[in-house]
Amino acid sequence: MAEISLTVNGERTAAQVDPRTLLSDFLRDGLNLTGTHVGCEHGYCGACTVLVDGASARSCLMLAIQADARSVETVESLSVNGAGLHPIQQAFKDCHGLQCGFCTPGLLMSVVELAATNPDCGRDEIREHLSGNVCRCTGYHHIVDAVERALNGVPGRADDS
């Protein structure tokens, strides 16, 4: 076992980890942050996407021990204890950008990165940026609508009723 010390969602955390523990499992099982979903576990599906020092990363393709002294943000950072939905989450809700919701945490964290690094992008760039997040329900149209709404305030095809 090895001692790691990192910041998760703004809070300093220290823990003992087996070096082979994946960051995804450490977040879910060690810190009970089960918002990070684990799908394919080999880097294809994108459900486990989190931010490491602000940049998106597959938490299933990272050892927890690699996150030592880093800052990790998960989907739980977006809406803290009943403080209401983050604008990106609200846009996903308004535009029906999810159905079963399994892929949503990873998509949201990818969009947080996009909003921080390229907020003025169009639909093609949104699709390119989200190409690493697989959704088997929506067909992606409403996800792109939601991201466009979140980034640019574009009404898209939101159903506000």
């Binding site: 090895a2 299933c60 690699q66």
Partner: protein
Amino acid sequence: MKPPRFAYHAPRTLPELLETFNETADEAVVLAGGQSLLPMLNLRLAAPSHVIDLGRVPGLDSIASTNGSVEVGAMVTHYRMETDAVVAASVPLARRAAGYVGYRAIRNRGTVGGSVAHADPAAEWPIVLLALDGEVGLASVRGWRSIAAEDFFESVYTTAKRPDEIVTSLRLSTRCAHRWGFSEFQRRTGDFATVAVAVACAVEAGEICEARVAIAGVADRPMRCREAEAVLVGGSATAAADAAEAASDSVDPISDIHGSSAFRKRLVHAETLRAVRQAFSANEAGARDG
């Protein structure tokens, strides 16, 4: 699945890294960005006794422009290659190729050194190295050496790197960076290439005096296509179609689940045509005054 048990090492200096690797080399793997290694560990395709993490070793992530070349540290990520100003100015072909690697989350963590050491025959960096007359820098406890890209890639996941050596840097020549093109066919965005083509040309007095064409996805290693290069040297804009024809004729591609040999031959034609047209077009990003 989850990775098997291993002993984890995070050396803090290059000498410590090389010493650790030398002591464990037969049973150790090197962890760079982990975007190929972690899937292999998770799927239990690899079961090393030791994992040596390069992530805490300083000095492996610099990008420096020297006389006639750009030196890239092995731990430089694909995303940095996509966004770095020195790369954009000196070897724009490398910047373009970086954008084809995986997805953003993969590019954020995956490294050029890891990709080159892994030597997937459909990867982008090996053909960029071939097109830009690149060299691979290798270090071990025995010392440092550099090997030409053409001699480095031997077969699928197999390179001329000796068991105790670690890839520490890549050197890309700017001699052929004047005119360049890069084109790739992927089934889905972020997949490995079915076929990818990199073209780099040196221009003197308005004429192409040297051309390098490198192709991924047609053999067990990245290939240079000298037939297409011969067409381009001294050639005019109409040479694009001839070069594409020559490239397609010269390859005898593999067939696999991603595409038949005949399909890949057609792709070599199409992607070579696109890459050469980029290199020739004055209006495209592919042309830089030289």
